[in-house]
Every structure is written in C-alpha cells, then in structure tokens.
C-alpha cells in the first residue's frame, strides 16, 4: 500500500525544535508557529494536498477551496504540537469533552476488557488523556510501526511509558499480547481504516465509492470475543478536544460458514460509522494518501 512507502514528513530535527519551543517558550509561542509549519507541509506536499482534496470533495459535498485543504494541514500540525506538549501530562490546560465514558466504564466493569476500534482521525493523545485521568485498567494500542519509525522512536525516547503501551504489528506474538491484555480486563486500541501491504482486505462503500479496509481488526475481535467500541478523539480548537466512545458490538461472532461475508458486513458497518464521523469532523481526517486508489502514480 502506498502509505507504508510514503516518506515520513518532518525530520527529527524539526520535531526536536518544536519540542524545545513548546517546553521552553510556552504553548502560545508554539501555537503561533503552527501557521508557518502547516504552510510548509502544505506547500511541500502536492500529493498529500491532492489526497486531501479528493477526501474533502466527498466529505464536504462540494469542491474544497485551498482554505479547506490548508485547514487539514493546520489541524494535523496542531495535534502534533499538542502531542509534544501533552508529553508533560499537562492535561489540566486542555478542555476535553468526553462522550460515552459511562458506556466504556460499564464494559470495563464487566472485566472482559474492551476492543477500541479507531481510525486515523484526530489524535490518539486525546484518548491517552482520558486513559491517564483515571482509567482503572491498562491500555495498549496495536500499530503498524514501519511507517512512522522515525517519529515513533522520537516519541518513545521522550515518553517510555507511552511507548510500552504500543504493540507493534508484524511479530507473530503481537495478538497474543493483545489477548493477554484483554484477559486482564484491559483496553486494546486498533486502527481499522488502513490496510497493511499484506493481509486480508475488503472493498466497502466509503463516502460514495468503494475503498479498501482491513478485515484483520474484525477477525481479531471475533477471535478474542471481547466487546467492541468505536473510539476517536478530534481536535475542535486551540487546546480543545472531543473524545467519543460509542458501542459497536457486544461481541463479534463469526461463524465458520460465510466467514468472509460476515466479516465484510462488519467492515461495512465500521466504514459507514467512520464516514459519518469524517463528515462531521472533516478536517481531522489524517489519511494523507490515495484512499480510493484513484490517483495517477
């Protein structure tokens, strides 16, 4: 898939500089720098601009202007800035609106663990913030790390505790770790909107056209038999986030017969829900690649 090959934008030097600025000169100074930073990403990434345009055309239902496209780059940069700033656990400076926390807590209380299906939509850190402020159980995330190794190792260096909560996909025992976390009543986060280079994929309707979605997360949920929720945290303004937890399935059951058809049904339902969220928060969609496989190489 294209995104795994896509060169990671932003060198370590730039991240280090941003980290230094927010910690020494303060958030306000960092925030002011977002404009030139976002502008730099915007101007230097024609393919990503094109990808955002194609997404927004569908999500907004109109031809996006440059202002719309720039806004996605800005929001993305803002979440990056917050990620650096939040490494110091300064959540008290943020306004976090959390929806569905009672539903999540209900599931946690059952002790069966819970699978949180996310997407590359908004910020994982906003969800970490919720976990950090009083989640009684452990939280781990399954992630493809081959794409973002440079920044992943940078953030790991800054915050080893957070790095320990990431299970890199690709090792045979990755899912065993997820299973054991659920057995201890923990939460396992999985992003279910990007397909890895290999593995099981289906094409389901997304914003009007078929797009590739992975089946892996739903197979996993079926095998593990834990309750499943959809979870995402979106940037809604300067130091403001909304975090949503929504029920998705009490458990996903996949019979042996019609396995493929049942999995496709679950993936379709997931894509339909993510579509609604993407329409509601279009500038938080951070899949900067050819999502519908329609762009010229």
């Amino acid at each position: 898939m294209i995104w795994t090959r896509q060169k990671e934008r932003g060198s370590i030097a730039a991240l280090r500089l941003m980290a230094w600025i927010v910690t020494r000169l303060g958030y306000g100074f960092g925030y002011a720098l977002l404009w030139p930073i976002a502008l730099y990403f915007f101007l230097s990434s024609p393919r990503q601009r094109q990808a955002v345009r194609r997404f927004q055309r569908r999500a907004l239902g109109r031809e996006p202007g440059l202002r719309d496209i720039f806004r996605t780059f800005f929001v993305f940069s803002a979440t990056l800035l917050d990620r650096l700033f939040l490494l110091g656990n300064r959540f008290q400076d943020y306004e976090l609106k959390v929806f569905g926390l009672d539903l999540l807590n209900e599931r946690i209380a059952r002790g069966e663990g819970c699978i949180l299906l996310g997407a590359h939509l908004g910020s994982f850190n906003a969800m970490h913030a919720v976990a950090d402020t009083g989640c009684p159980v452990e939280v781990v995330a399954l992630m493809h790390t081959q794409n973002a190794t440079k920044s992943a190792s940078f953030f790991a260096e800054l915050d080893p505790r957070q790095a320990a909560a990431i299970i890199p996909l690709g090792q045979p025992d990755a899912m065993l770790r997820a299973k054991e976390c659920l057995e201890r009543g923990g939460l396992v986060g999985i992003l279910a909107d990007r397909t890895p280079g290999t593995g099981k994929v289906t094409r389901v309707p997304f914003l009007g056209d078929p797009a590739a979605f992975p089946l892996g997360p739903h197979i996993l949920a079926g095998v593990l038999g834990a309750p499943v929720m959809i979870a995402f945290g979106v940037w809604t303004g300067r130091r403001r986030y909304e975090v949503h937890f929504e029920p998705f399935a009490d458990r996903i059951t996949i019979d042996r017969r019609d396995r493929q058809a049942q999995l496709e049904l679950v993936a379709t339902r997931y894509a339909a829900r993510i579509e609604q969220v993407a329409r509601r928060f279009p500038y938080n969609w951070f899949n900067f690649y050819d999502f519908w496989e329609e762009m010229d190489a």
Binding site: P172, M175, A178, V223
Partner: protein, 88 residues
C-alpha cells in the same frame, strides 16, 4: 513413527483446520517459515493457532516467552515446543 514426527503431522492438521487453509496438512514443509514467507501466516493466524493449541494440548503459548520468534518459526519448532509442554 517417532513422536516428534507424529506431533508434526497432528499440528499440521490442527493449523489447517484452525485457519481454514486450502492446503493439505502434508503439503506444509516442516522446516519452512510459517509467517511472512513460506506459508505466509500473520499474527492473527498466530493467535488462532495459539488458541487451538491451548484447547488441544492444554497449555498456553504466551507473549512473554522470549523464544516465541523461534517457536513460531516453523512447523518443526512449534511441534517440538508442543511435545515438550503438552499436558494432554
């Protein structure tokens, strides 16, 4: 037939059954990699194998075992590990 070879045949069958593979158990090369190349399994497959193994042989494959890379490397290694740890 030695017990290791017998286990290998049995585990091959278990893998094919657990993962609904379209190869026959005898076609799995005992020394070929199970994951990535070779049989081309992924980590969800590994989980399903681990669940099937615990059901059939009564012991858990765990993620904190440092030898996992080796255990899951081939049918031969996995079978040898099962032979050593099985309780039924």
């Amino acid at each position: 037939m030695s017990s290791v070879v017998a286990t290998e045949a049995e585990v091959a069958e278990l893998i094919v059954e657990a993962l609904h593979l379209e190869v026959s158990p005898a076609e799995i090369d005992p020394e070929a990699p199970l994951f990535g190349e070779g049989l081309g399994l992924d980590s969800i497959d590994a989980l399903e194998i681990a669940l099937a193994v615990s059901k059939r042989y009564g012991f858990q494959l765990r993620s904190d075992d440092e030898r996992n890379g080796q255990i899951f490397a081939s049918l031969r290694n996995l079978s040898a590990h099962i032979d050593k740890n099985r309780v039924k």
